[in-house]
């Protein structure tokens, strides 16, 4: 009985607050990550050798460094040289850049899988190179990259929990604080786990709807 009251009056409100922060971390990071991933993936395939080299380096570093190290660099590292980011900004920046590096590779693969005939047909109609990429190749590639990119967004939902390591107190951070105070680790973290499970289920059902809606043209 005492536990139910504790959960209802202490745990639940705090976790809902944390969930709000988590969502505010996940949504902009997912959107920025996808957008930056599309740009870097496209430059990787169609860019000049110099941009290709730069994108390659970017992907190598941001996929290679553990995310937690990247967050530390953005939050603690930059502060050393006088750039002070808020915990929230540092987290969104870190998530977006890391997520984009993975998206970039999914998009690159999808772009390469589009038949050359599509570009030929567009060029034959008088499309410029940029128009061909923008209106013909990318829309088709995005559809093919969607399962991979969706996977990355699901990862993002879960690695958003690292934000509390740079003092951005989101869902996991709130749970850690509650659990340390009450020592009810199992109860609190089980609830948190279920909340993440709910977020992931919601995201995958939205993504699969998007895939189906988008898929009609590829029957």
């Amino acid at each position: 009985m005492e536990e139910i009251v504790y959960i209802q009056h202490t745990v639940f409100p705090a976790l809902m607050q944390g969930l709000g922060v988590s969502i505010l971390l996940i949504l902009p990071s997912a959107i920025c990550g996808i957008c930056l991933g599309v740009v870097t993936g496209t430059l990787h395939v169609y860019g000049s050798p110099v941009t290709r080299f730069m994108v390659n380096g970017y992907v190598l570093i941001f996929r290679g460094f553990p995310l937690i190290i990247q967050l530390y660099i953005w939050y603690f590292g930059l502060a050393r040289i006088g750039i002070f980011l808020s915990p929230y900004t540092a987290s969104v920046l870190g998530f977006s850049l890391c997520s984009a590096a993975y998206h970039s590779e999914y998009i690159r693969g999808a772009l390469l899988s589009i038949k050359h005939g599509q570009a030929l047909a567009a060029q034959a109609l008088g499309f410029t190179r940029i128009q061909t990429i923008l209106f013909i190749i990318l829309p088709q590639a995005m559809r093919r990259a969607l399962p991979g990119c969706g996977n990355e967004i699901i990862y993002l939902i879960k690695y958003s929990s690292l934000a509390y390591m740079v003092t951005c107190i989101e869902l996991t951070g709130k749970a850690k604080i509650l659990a340390s105070a009450s020592f009810k680790y199992i109860e609190v973290f089980m609830i948190v786990g279920v909340i993440y499970l709910f977020l992931v289920t919601l995201a995958s059902s939205l993504l699969s709807r998007l895939e189906k809606g988008w898929g009609r043209c590829f029957l």
Binding site: L120, Q123, A124, G126, F127, R129, C217
Partner: protein, 250 residues
């Protein structure tokens, strides 16, 4: 009369292998030239070189007397709008339905308003008899229907000349007829065309001139009657007799 399109001394090599050597031809408005020849003769490369999809190594191309400059990207896009291209494997945009396949270039390239583009696209679909399939995606169309949509797409750009690269060779025998009849009507309406095909009987009726190509060279050209029945070159005679035998056996 000045030719609408002239190709002068075109050369193209892939690696060490010459695929076009010294190809020249010119075509007047309303004429239909048919390219014949074995696979690998350079027919497709010639057609793709004419609109710079495969940029020639050397040679000149003139549209209505004006030299086409392959290095000027903007001018090249303008030139390509005037030269319709039909591919062997249709190359419809897979993410767009039939009517959007036609209107996208009208909107993005010609800068037409959406409503005007839709009207024009529907009119072109009507011309190839596919109004009822306007909302079908390429994956929902038969090969013949796809090729007709791709013809409508090219026609919507008001091309001065059409290049058709074996438009029926990827089709089921049953579906060839519907595409040939669209091409035939186009020819009767006075469209200037260069057509690579193996449909000899069809080409014989349609062509102003036939051009026999082999190993990247034009071996012989002349009226269908001359090429098919009284060719000077032995190789032309061999090729023509083998394909006419084939069609008469069917």
């Amino acid at each position: 009369m000045d030719p609408i399109l002239s190709v002068e001394n075109l050369y193209k090599q892939f690696g060490d292998r010459p695929v076009l050597s010294d190809v020249s031809l010119s075509i007047n408005a309303g004429e239909i030239k048919v390219l014949i020849g074995p696979s690998g003769a350079g027919k497709s490369t010639l057609l793709q070189s004419i609109n710079y999809l495969v940029p020639p190594d050397s040679g000149r191309i003139l549209l209505e007397g004006r030299l086409v400059n392959g290095a000027d990207k903007r001018a090249l896009c303008g030139y390509r709008q005037q030269v319709g291209m039909i591919f062997q494997d249709f190359n419809l945009f897979d993410h767009l339905n039939a009517v959007s396949n036609i209107e996208i270039a009208l909107i993005r390239v010609k800068g037409l308003h959406k409503i005007a583009a839709r009207q024009r696209a529907m009119a072109e679909l009507d011309r190839v008899g596919l109004t009822s399939h306007a909302n079908h995606y390429p994956a929902e169309l038969s090969g013949g229907q796809k090729q007709r949509v791709s013809i409508a797409r090219a026609l919507a750009m008001d091309p001065k000349i059409m290049l058709l690269d074996e438009p029926t060779s990827a089709l089921d025998p049953e579906l060839i007829g519907e595409v040939l009849s669209v091409i035939g009507k186009l020819g009767q309406a006075g469209m200037t065309m260069i057509l690579a095909t193996h449909q000899i009987a069809f080409a014989r009726n349609l062509a102003t001139e036939m051009i026999f190509m082999e190993a990247g060279k034009i071996v012989e050209q002349g009226t269908p009657d001359v090429i098919l029945n009284h060719a000077c070159c032995v190789r032309t005679r061999e090729f023509c007799s083998s394909i006419t035998d084939l069609t008469s056996n069917q």
